[in-house]
Symmetry: D3
Subunit: 249 residues, 6 copies
């Protein structure tokens, strides 16, 4: 049994508040255990310079932690004057993952910007940000759809969620909290679609290389956990998610 | 009557969640109408270089808005690589205001850093940040006090709260929301103590200079509003606030 | 009596050199006691992006201190790579104050940039910058007027000057020098128009909150001092100031 | 057959120049096809602040591309004033990968800094940087060892190499060049040790999610390619590599 | 005859105000025609890290132009967030030139910082800064000497001045103003000592390469002009310059 | 005799690799003794804003050293976030020198960017960069010419090379290596054309002023060394250099 009483295959309790922000076109406050991330989706009727005039849209993401989201206060990146490598790595990951299930032609010449702000961090902030920002994105796309902004194709080709897995004391564990994460010998983040395909697989054995069998065990756990998260996403979105996956991206 | 049904002397509905953050030594989520600010107090057992070895503590503050706290998304200052003038002005104000009621000798050689992060903005974010960060500060100081960290003097010499006032259509109004604020010809932020003394008075008539009588009317409104806020702070803090003001700062 | 022999209601000796700079459209070297500020006004036939095509002009200001303007040398902000909070706060104040007496429609689609460079600082650099940059602005506007650039309305609706006041040893003092400023328990900067209306009132009691009666005493002193400064400005500008205030801004 | 005549399981021709730099403690110029990276290892007898006094060493890495390493010239990051997200991501990966096979206690309180400068880029610059910087690291560690700087344990616990794999037209391909990389639907970078364990597995299906069978096919190819690279590394290092892997990291 | 009525060998009218700044240890306002530079010397009782504990001092220089020192306003480098190449080049030149006549051992473990701020620019700002900052340096050194801070050796080994020369319409001209400078085909800055030795010779023929005979003609003119400037410096410094050059640097 | 066995008038052994980079329009790897610089010329079919629509081209240059080009590793300027003064000074020099022999009208509305990256430094990196980047520029211009991009005038009016000279132990020396450079009392960089005209003369006597006779001796040595380098450049370029100097720039 794990420190917080979970079995290896258990996710932490998760919850979501829909539309907590009165201005954003889509927003959720997502919680995975004590990790809390506010995700907002902003629709901008323009695209980056490299896409102008091509009739395609774009999805972008930014990620940040409030200074006291963590046990020890972290200096603000705005005060240090630049983004750290970890932040850049994470926000590149979030944007890439979301784009994998978006049909950019169907979206039309507009950008949806996802902002993931971590209010409290207890492990898995990047995977929780992906799972939450998919919801915010779905709400914003639904709003555009309700306003008749799209043609025959719905821009979201599938659901998307993410979870972390790791090896600790020879055991594969699902959805690590901070304490587990800091002791794990392997740390892996997996992003998958509603159809069960992989979008990102990132495994790191900085403290200790890992064997193929361990990789397989972790992938299997991730697959199972993401399946449960996507089932929950369907429930949460309800009618706002009905058109998702109706066609290929 | 005002756009949201209030009388000129009315504050917006206000509320607070105590200790929403599991790591910070003091934290509150304060709401004034639709303005929501997360304030955390972090205790650091060190002081800035210019205070080293003097047996005195320090209070610092940082202020930031989430990108989609506003109707139109604001680019992150971390991405732009520097703090804007408005941010600097506000966080200097918050720090200065809080220090006015802290006895730095009694605090001892430590720093309390107040982080004010605006989750949603609807006017009055700087005044709400001051009122909220006073509460977070009081919770952190109470925690230190409970741990026996202080001598005879309690470091908080008084309560502190802040409110905005303005002139709109020839009428002095208390606690402006964003819509009122953007139309007001004069905008004024006032910070006062529990004893009714002024800590900051900042009135600006960029669009239109104002007369002495208008200044007096606004000050009177501010005094009344701050009195109500401080009464509420006393209630909210309860036992954690009992030692405040027991001696001069 | 004060350290430099003045009575509480006395301004320091003040003087101005008109057009010390051979390139600027308007320039003055203003002195208040040992505080010396070079103010230049530059006319640029363009406006910031947010004003384009609206037929309105803009007034902007920048403020800086030479490194050895002060007793101890200050590192240059260009070397540190960013503007400090104090600089930003001051230049925002100068721009805002000047705009309050300018009719931006009457100015037409052009920007006047005021540069305030402090050659020597002995207290009151921000208030002296405002008083001096009003003169530089008036000279530049007069030059445009002489060249027939305006219609029926003159863009300057009023005179403008500023002074500092403070409480020291229980006494309200006008126009603090550096030594007084560093000991004052309250520090206040006031900007007023030739009609006697307030444009900015900024009072700070960081070291000690202040009472309403003290605020009133300081405001009265400021009003008196600014009146004398504006009378002097009228004299200094002479013919170049005759059209000011001929209509509402 | 592939555009350059290779079979899917073929690596590009690879070559190395040992010690091309007369100052660095270890250096190699590595070539994988037309990708050329200069890797230097610098020994510094100090450690980062967070490791001081712990008797442990550190391995760090920096990565950069010369402006004309690519078909279209890239602006220098030194001119833009900040590192891009891609650079940060890559240099974090290189450092993490190398640390996985280093026994930091055995290294002693010193830092080895690996600089990977891409002189010409034709796909696989990050994996080639890892394979090459392992060689530069091994040369530097051998030099320290020859000078009697270590105790019983040799700081390098294993060999390390990296290669890219991808899915193109339904086929898994090893060691993609730039043309293949830009058309691949999945792109994956794998880092492995001489013992055949995984250190990093990073697979991305931005343009199209991928199935478990595809993941397996790519991993198998990577395993095979890395095996060949490590065999070559053993040959290249010769005597300088004999002590590697003699004990656990 | 030249545009301003001078002969080719004529300097522009020059003048100096001694000690215009009440705080600096040495200061001058120097004018060469319409070029006006405020030079201040600040004594700091510390040296840069690379000189600590060696019993030697250091001379440093910074150079800046006020935004409206020129016909067209230049954006501030503090606002742009970095120093431009021209500024860096000039301040490196000023520091290097001054150090050539300073005996750093005799100066003792202290730094003298020269700040050259151009109030108005009409050609020759870098050479005027050198000539002026030598005077400010001499005043500061004299002050230290009067306070008995030095041993047997006086830290200033010689006088130092600088002037520009150029080729225009086939004619070598001394001390170019802005109009001449912008049309000259060769531009040269020369720094020399009171003994007539060269400290810096920087000639540039960007628009047109130049012959050896032209170089010789320009050097001869520079030598003559600098001789006159150093004679004037001796007069200006009077007693404060008597000890200069009494020994070798 | 010198430390490396050379006579005072000897250049170090020099060599060049033509077109080492497969993407750049022109590229060379030039070696002067142990100094190795990779120079690439990139043609961009656009000009800087200040030249738009004038039918003229531009030549620009950037210079950088790899971190371990030197005995002690230098931090990257991209990591420090800004270019140092030395880098700016050198790249301004390279660009200026190259422009002196280019007919910008004949080049047409395009920019050629020269990148000089020092792989290994042993004195004379700026002069070697000029000599090498002239070759890269000539190759790129020849390529444009072969493609029929020019009219009657060839854009290169002459050859160009550069060398350093210095005074050491009372002796003028040609082409200083790092050891000599660090001990020399005078250091001078000279750039000349194939016609024997001067483009840049930069002599610095920071440690000790120098006499006119020393200046003359150094200039004579530089003239002789540059003559040899330009003869070699003619040989190296062969046919690619035949059109150079066929007309005035």
């Amino acid at each position: 049994m794990r420190g917080d009483g979970r079995q290896p295959r258990d996710l932490r309790p998760f919850a979501v508040t829909l539309q907590p922000n009165k201005y954003a076109e889509g927003s959720v406050l997502i919680e995975m255990g004590d990790t809390k991330v506010l995700c907002t989706a902003t629709i901008e009727e323009k695209v980056p310079p490299f896409l102008k005039g091509q009739g395609k849209g774009w999805i972008n993401a930014e990620y940040s932690m409030l200074p006291r989201a963590t046990q020890v206060r972290n200096p603000r990146e705005s005060v240090r004057g630049k983004l750290g490598g970890r932040t850049m790595e994470i926000q590149r990951l979030i944007g890439r993952a979301l784009r994998s299930i978006v049909n950019l032609e169907a979206l039309g010449e507009r950008t949806i910007m996802l902002d993931c702000d971590v209010l409290q961090a207890d492990g898995g902030t990047r995977t929780t940000s992906i799972t939450g920002s998919f919801l915010a994105l779905a709400l914003a796309v639904h709003k555009l759809s309700a306003a008749g902004k799209f043609g025959a194709k719905y821009p979201l080709a599938d659901y998307l969620a993410s979870v972390s897995v790791g090896m600790l004391n020879g055991q594969a564990l699902l959805d690590l909290n901070y304490e587990e994460d800091s002791k794990a010998k392997v740390d892996m983040n997996v992003v998958m679609t509603g159809q069960g395909a992989f979008v990102e697989v990132q495994g790191t054995g900085e403290d200790s290389p890992f064997a193929r069998a361990e990789l397989d065990a972790m992938l299997e756990l991730a697959e199972s956990g993401i399946g449960r998260l996507i089932a929950w996403q369907r429930e949460v979105l309800g009618e706002a998610g009905l058109k998702i996956g109706g066609m290929q991206a």
